[in-house]
């Protein structure tokens, strides 16, 4: 019994002390006042971006990202623009009302219909679900140039980045377009992604949802989807890619345009394009035309000029084209040319000698026209000699192999570009 009494007395003393009516205030204002203050600061921040905000919008965690440009006026109106395949690649703009409300903390809501933003939420199409995107966003974090939002229903992270004052929205969209073309405008479907010591294959970039898998596996079967958004400087994953404890999310195009380098990883992480030589050799259907708009090496340019001049002087023909292709009628890969109305073929073979190189060999056979020009027009013999070399294959932009460069291994002045 004594023990019980002690326990009760001690408890009473403790309770007395614990229930002192003087609670120390952690905050100087009430929760309601703090919320009101936060709403005011968020509203001011939204409105104070003179040229508006770039909204990196992901409808769901499985969806590709879209760039929306948003400007918030002091009258409660928001103007939103978009240019994407959803808008048939033209800029569309609409206005609506917005408001900062106290809901799940400070929430930004666009509460009248905007045909740009609400296209992501409209259930009408497809299937009565729509794209299932949010139009109400919890403000998670705010800095001078960036606000981090979280979709209220879907929980996607959406960034608002302040747009610099000295750029028009048209120019901004053009920068996004250029980046998209540069990275995914080509027909190569595969990139290599390196994180630390791991090298992975990333395919389907043009859809803005990478399918990423370990090298050697079947990316279509084993790949995991990673949606991303194109930015003016590169790409950003909706959520970080993690492997062996290393995260990678935001990638910026390197100055030489050869890599997308991760800016927020603890280890070196980057994307590089497919090896151009490997890509060229794996392709058997493309006609690769020699480019006249890209510079040729000085020796090759001299030779090309000679072919043009001699065809004109001797045959009154316009020498108009050189190209590589698989020619069914010859049963061979060929170096082909066109002079006037005549087309000729020289049978060659491409030899894979590894790394970034391709070796061409003239088989010693050609069609009737090829033989005629070889025997009668000065310069064609030289052309055959030039082509029959080992070439280093490269690309000005590693991600877009629509145009590739061949440079003779033993003479850098023998070089040319081909394009598909």
């Amino acid at each position: 019994m004594k023990n019980k009494l002690y326990i009760l007395l001690c408890s009473a003393v403790l309770i007395c002390a614990g229930c002192s009516n003087q609670e120390s205030a952690i905050f100087s204002t009430s929760p309601a006042e703090r919320l009101k203050s936060a709403l005011k600061m968020d509203t001011d921040s939204l409105q104070n971006a003179e040229n508006g905000w770039e909204m990196e919008y992901f409808a769901t965690k499985q969806s590709p990202g879209y760039t929306l440009l948003v400007k918030f006026s002091k009258s409660g109106q928001a103007i939103i623009s978009e240019k994407s395949e959803l808008t048939n690649n033209s800029i569309i703009t609409d206005s609506c009302m917005y408001e900062m409300i106290g809901d799940n903390g400070p929430v930004l809501t666009f509460n009248t219909y905007n045909k740009v933003l609400h296209a992501f939420s409209n259930p009408v199409s497809p299937n009565g679900y729509g794209l299932e995107g949010d139009y109400e966003f919890i403000i998670m974090k705010r800095t001078a140039n960036q606000i981090i939002l979280q979709g209220k229903k879907r929980g996607t992270t959406i960034l608002l980045n302040k747009i610099p004052k000295d750029i028009t929205w048209e120019e901004y969209f053009a920068q996004i377009d250029d980046m998209n073309t540069l990275l995914f405008g080509g027909t190569t479907n595969s990139l290599n992604m390196v994180i630390g010591t791991d090298t992975l294959e990333a395919i389907n970039g043009a859809s803005h949802i990478f399918k990423i898998s370990k090298q050697g596996s079947d990316p279509q079967l084993d790949g995991v989807d990673y949606p991303f958004i194109i930015t003016t400087t590169g790409i950003r994953f909706n959520s970080p890619y993690t492997i062996n404890g290393n995260d990678a999310q935001t990638f910026t195009l390197s100055t030489d345009k050869q890599q997308l380098q991760c800016t927020n990883s603890s280890v070196k992480a980057y994307f590089i394009g497919t090896n151009p030589a490997k890509y060229y050799l794996s392709d058997s259907t493309t006609v690769w035309n020699f480019s006249l708009s890209k510079p040729m090496g000085s020796k090759f340019q001299t030779l090309y000029n000679k072919l043009v001049t001699n065809c004109q002087n001797k045959l009154s023909e316009k020498f108009s084209n050189l190209y590589f292709r698989n020619t069914a009628s010859r049963g061979s890969y060929t170096l082909s040319f066109k002079s006037g109305k005549y087309i000729g073929y020289f049978d060659i073979q491409r030899i894979n000698i590894g790394q970034n190189k391709v070796k061409f060999e003239y088989k010693g056979t050609s069609d009737v026209n090829g033989t005629y020009y070889l025997n009668n027009i000065e310069g064609f013999n030289e052309l055959i000699q030039y082509i029959g070399k080992t070439y280093i294959v490269s690309a000005d932009i590693a991600f877009n192999l629509n145009t590739i460069k061949f440079t003779a291994e033993d003479d850098a002045t023998i070089s040319f570009y081909v394009f598909r």
């Binding site: 009494l5 009760l8 009473a12 009302m97 408001e99 939420s121 009408v124 299937n127």
Partner: protein
């Protein structure tokens, strides 16, 4: 004795607990603008002022056109109504619904019994699994939610009636019968013919032949009751007679196949239901349904007066 001490200590313990917290905290000032003035700098000021005059002051009603996600059904994927369509809806609803009731039942009627909130939603509320969509809801006699407002076309009366005003009269009839129940005899008229899950598979003809003014009326008794009122109010005489004609024939299903005789005189049933609903409106609410129908038809004929 020991037990007594123990009990006393417990009383002290509790008392100390109570009295030590005797001083209440003082409340902070309200965060809300209690003066409730409209912001003259707002892009919506003009419309908000119009709503205040024509809805809040006149009908004691909060017309919510700026969508509140928390005020909607979060199960659905929904979008707000555009500002332009909200303005059209506000004018149409006042003219064809509120003022029509005001002209027949007196200006105080809707102020007292009408909904206190109208909430506009831009999209339909789809239920992709059942293949149905919600056009409107009435909650607790207080709030009416109208969907699909972004599709409103003020020049298309058929669409206005089918998708919006039938819904409004439908939902308001729900509000009225939630305050004063409809006659219990109504429950007996089509007993056993309701199909809460399969109504959407019925054609209009099949429903009419069974004594329902619409397929949805065949879902539940209370929906049947309000569908009679809503359809009678918004249908022209020709349209109403077409329903009765359909009801007097054998039903034809959605694949255009004539159904076997159901043994029900659909037309007589519909007229019986209308008579019961008319009497209830008159006895319970002093509303003459024929007068109200006539008033609505007159307003529909003059709808351009408010749109221009």
């Amino acid at each position: 004795m020991k037990g007594l001490i123990f009990k006393l200590l417990i009383i002290c313990f509790v008392s100390l607990n109570l009295f030590s917290c005797k001083k209440d905290d003082t409340f902070e000032a309200s965060i809300f603008d209690t003066t409730d003035t409209l912001d003259v700098h707002s892009a919506t000021y003009q419309f908000d002022s119009w709503l205040r005059t024509n809805y809040l002051n006149t009908y004691n009603l909060d017309f919510r056109y700026k969508m509140q996600d928390v005020g909607s059904d979060m199960e659905y994927n929904l979008v707000p109504t555009s500002f332009e369509k909200s303005q059209q809806m506000a004018k149409l609803i006042k003219y064809l619904w509120f003022d029509a009731y005001g002209a027949v039942a007196g200006p105080e009627f809707l102020k007292e019994y009408g909904p206190k909130i109208i909430h506009l939603i831009g999209s339909p509320a789809y239920n992709p699994i059942s293949g149905t969509m919600l056009l409107g809801t009435a909650e607790g006699g207080i709030k009416v939610t109208l969907y699909r407002c972004n599709d409103v076309d003020p020049t298309n009366l058929t669409q206005l009636n089918e998708y919006y005003f039938k819904t409004m009269h439908h939902e308001f009839a729900h509000i009225l019968h939630q305050k004063k129940n409809y006659p219990v005899q109504f429950n007996q008229i089509s007993k056993g013919l309701y199909s809460p899950l399969g109504w959407q598979n019925k054609s209009a003809s099949e429903a009419a032949s069974l004594g329902f003014v619409s397929p949805y009326a065949a879902s539940q008794i209370r929906e049947d009751f309000v569908e009679i009122i809503a359809n009678y109010l918004i249908k022209s005489d020709t349209e109403w007679n077409n329903i009765l004609t359909l009801a007097s024939k054998a039903g034809v299903d959605n694949s255009n196949k004539t159904l076997p005789d159901d043994g029900v005189d659909g037309k007589a049933i519909i007229l019986q239901k209308l008579a019961m609903a008319s009497k209830w409106l008159n006895d319970s609410w002093n509303i003459d349904i024929v007068k109200l129908h006539t008033e609505i038809m007159y307003r529909e004929a003059h709808i351009n007066d408010i749109l221009n």
